[in-house]
Symmetry: C2
Subunit: 214 residues, 2 copies
């Protein structure tokens, strides 16, 4: 048994994010601290600390006297966050070592079309996409930027479970990823950045198309 040498608040935060991925929490619903703490087998103190962290990531909202609730979702917010991530990843790409980008380009190309199991669970598929973007940013030395990207992406987890499965958008994403990789292979960083921004814009709309109204 690996004894956890990490604050409970961090472990709780991770567990809550995992449950968020599974769609356990509906957007807009209140958090009952006592009930959730009991369910997790911890006291309210570290739970509240985790909730405050999640509120800082805009996954939760807090209202005086009314506690925490899961932040409502909206197509507008999703687009907003995607445009932020497009800008941040573009900056990360622009401030990466061109030689390193050229070196990882083949891996990016291969990973783009190396689908996971086509009938895999949504979580697996999303992780595959994350993996690709992580590799893309692996040469960025701006620690604060990578940190920020991670934080902003965490908030996107509220949307993952809302989407219905669909293969076509995944293939388009793979194509766009491959295009970015090829630009990097050519050493054409500006083109890669443009393609990345396009990918985020298209990816946002494809994702939204997979989310039913209301």
């Amino acid at each position: 048994m690996a004894i956890e040498r990490r604050p409970l608040r961090d472990q709780i935060r991770e567990e809550l994010l995992k449950r968020l991925d599974r769609g356990d929490f509906a957007a807009g619903t209140d958090v009952n601290e006592a009930a959730l703490a009991a369910e997790l087998g911890v006291s309210r103190t570290p739970l509240r600390e985790a909730l405050i962290t999640l509120a800082g990531e805009r996954i939760l909202e807090s209202n005086q006297g009314r506690g925490f609730r899961f932040a409502p979702v909206s197509r507008q917010e999703f687009r907003e966050v995607c445009s932020i991530l497009a800008a941040l990843e573009s900056l990360a790409l622009e401030s990466s070592d061109p030689a390193h980008l050229k070196r990882i380009a083949p891996d990016l190309l291969q990973l783009a079309h190396g689908f996971p199991d086509p009938v895999a669970e949504q979580q697996i598929i999303d992780r595959h996409d994350d993996e690709w973007h992580d590799l893309l940013l692996s040469g960025c030395t701006n620690e604060r930027l990578l940190d920020l990207v991670t934080g902003v992406k965490a908030g996107m987890r509220r949307y993952a479970h809302l989407a219905v499965a669909d293969d076509a958008p995944l293939r388009r994403d793979a194509d766009e990823h491959a295009a970015i990789a090829r630009h990097l292979l050519d050493g054409d960083l500006p083109a890669a950045v443009v393609a990345l921004k396009t990918n985020w814009a298209n990816g946002a709309e494809r994702m939204l198309a997979r989310i039913p109204e209301e």
Copy 2:
């Protein structure tokens, strides 16, 4: 007496940020929770909640068993954060209503050279700069983006008090702000964005030049 209808953690956070501006906390030093809580006249519980929020903003670091400490500063991190803010403000500008930008351009121009008292305290001067940038972004409808900018800027407060007073850089900043405003007046948004990025890059170096080594 205005009775505060806001969680203590928020009030504590603000008080700590104010003290940070005053340079009360040296980077890298530990936070003694009990002592600080006593000084603020609150218990450790809301204090810790504020500390956790500040850790989320990268103003503090936390280590298991060792509590919180003020995050170390470095020229590299300062440049990293400035480049992030350049990208985020550029995005905000690009996603603003051009008509609104043209409308506020005269105000931006006037505010650029309307110095505060030349011998004013550093805090006043910094606030003047913030005011200009806030006005610049006032037409941005991307709420999440504005939120993110605010959060990232909060972390920059760790650097404000390290700089020695100097008029020349302020004048250059004013010139660059005026240049941005004129581009907006011309309706040339791309040029304004380029000028804004230049302003952030130059501004970062000017600020660093005002910070003594070690």
